[in-house]
Symmetry: C2
Subunit: 292 residues, 2 copies
Amino acid sequence: MEIIDGNQVAATIIAELKAEVATFSGRKPCIALVRVGDDPASISYVKKKQATAAEIGMESRLFLPPVTITQAELCTLIDQLNADDTVDGILVQSPLPKGIEEVAVFRRIAAHKDVDGFHTLNLGKLAQEDETGFVACTPAGIMELLARANVTLAGKHVVVLGRSLIVGKPAALLAVQRKVWANATVTICHSQTANLPALTRQADVLIAAIGKAEFVTADMVKPGVVVIDVGVNRVPDASRKTGYRLTGDVHFPTVSPLCSKITPVPGGVGPMTVAMLMKNTVKAYRQSRAAA
Amino acid sequence: MEIIDGNQVAATIIAELKAEVATFSGRKPCIALVRVGDDPASISYVKKKQATAAEIGMESRLFLPPVTITQAELCTLIDQLNADDTVDGILVQSPLPKGIEEVAVFRRIAAHKDVDGFHTLNLGKLAQEDETGFVACTPAGIMELLARANVTLAGKHVVVLGRSLIVGKPAALLAVQRKVWANATVTICHSQTANLPALTRQADVLIAAIGKAEFVTADMVKPGVVVIDVGVNRVPDASRKTGYRLTGDVHFPTVSPLCSKITPVPGGVGPMTVAMLMKNTVKAYRQSRAAA
């Protein structure tokens, strides 16, 4: 059994981006980071994104509107960033304060700067296998993890547990593409699936993104499976100072011995998202230069 | 075994649309039909669409540019139709002459008039379960056939054979939606799938859209399955005047006895597409009125 080390893969991607950005003359790729209010988790996530951009040699610009900002004002800010030719990607940190319609704000971001990959047009491009679009960072990160762990998907059965808009569906749409790195047979399971273990046991690659702590147990996988655990769940743990520990959607102690490869939580998919955000931003920069 | 009669279901939908359109005061829903050149099949398809629109009490406007039209000129025509407030839906009949980039032309149609459901934005809305979008007529027709044949999908295993952009993928995205009429577990199989019969045999509902004549044989289905046959293939048949007969992707004589329900070819999915085109056009009309 091999642990797929997300931190290491992310570091490789960041090093590749750094090398690529070093070759860019003039203006460097720039990501605008919008953080509303002072949510502690958001502060930490945005800091990480700033630090990663700096490491790559990219520019990042931080916008810190107060928690009292109205939806209209936030949209005006996004419109300004959309119009700013020196901004390649726009990231609005979730969650937004109550009273602001998150989906409306995310969709305000111009599709060609939507490095989070949430825009309707980018999801459509994913379904159409149009590579000019941006794929959401988590599913894009899953595919990078698989590719760099030398897991070929062609003809394999990929079972995706979860049908969310930002993980399950785009992961399924990626795996089924007519691309040499894809071409998988794909099954999408979810909370209403009958005989779930019988289906997950067929998986050559199981992508667990159902948001339930340690949901996938040993009886639900076949020996030799590759497991990508997307879950990030807090479970009470009195032995920890924080009172909880992080766990994935997979019961790692019993499932991992059956796997050929598995991602841990934390340290699997998680670290990939920031790397993919930066990769998308560099792509947006390249595309905007090519169009100019 | 029950034959799902596509002609009858289509007639029901057309009657429903006729009743709805009769309640509209003032301008009626209008579809612009663009047919380039004189391809005999296209002439017949467009005639059928005109006749169906007339039956419903909708307006249709026929545009017949010559086969020599340039792509730029065709795009200018589409731009005019996009801008025309009295046109609700635009249908450009496929195939277009060689030298014209079909995808570019289809994508020129404004998303809110794209009653064929090919626009990137409409595919994105389908993935996002945003019901303001337009779903391509064949997959939309499949779901109507299933619903009106009282086939519930929730928790069932729908296996889609084929991953095309206009049938396989949208059908899969529809069946997996968090909607009371959907909520299926979905598997997408295709030409590169390993152990295909083992997968299709798991289907509670099998949607065959692989474009290979009589590809699905009795050993590939389980007793009681519901089969939707999307294929339209010509196979040589010396006993026919035309020299060929139409057949689906399913070997009907041996598969149908195993089915609880099955669509025939012809007379199954085929008749649904024109009905769904009209249904989309009426929806476009409703949405444009609501926005006005």
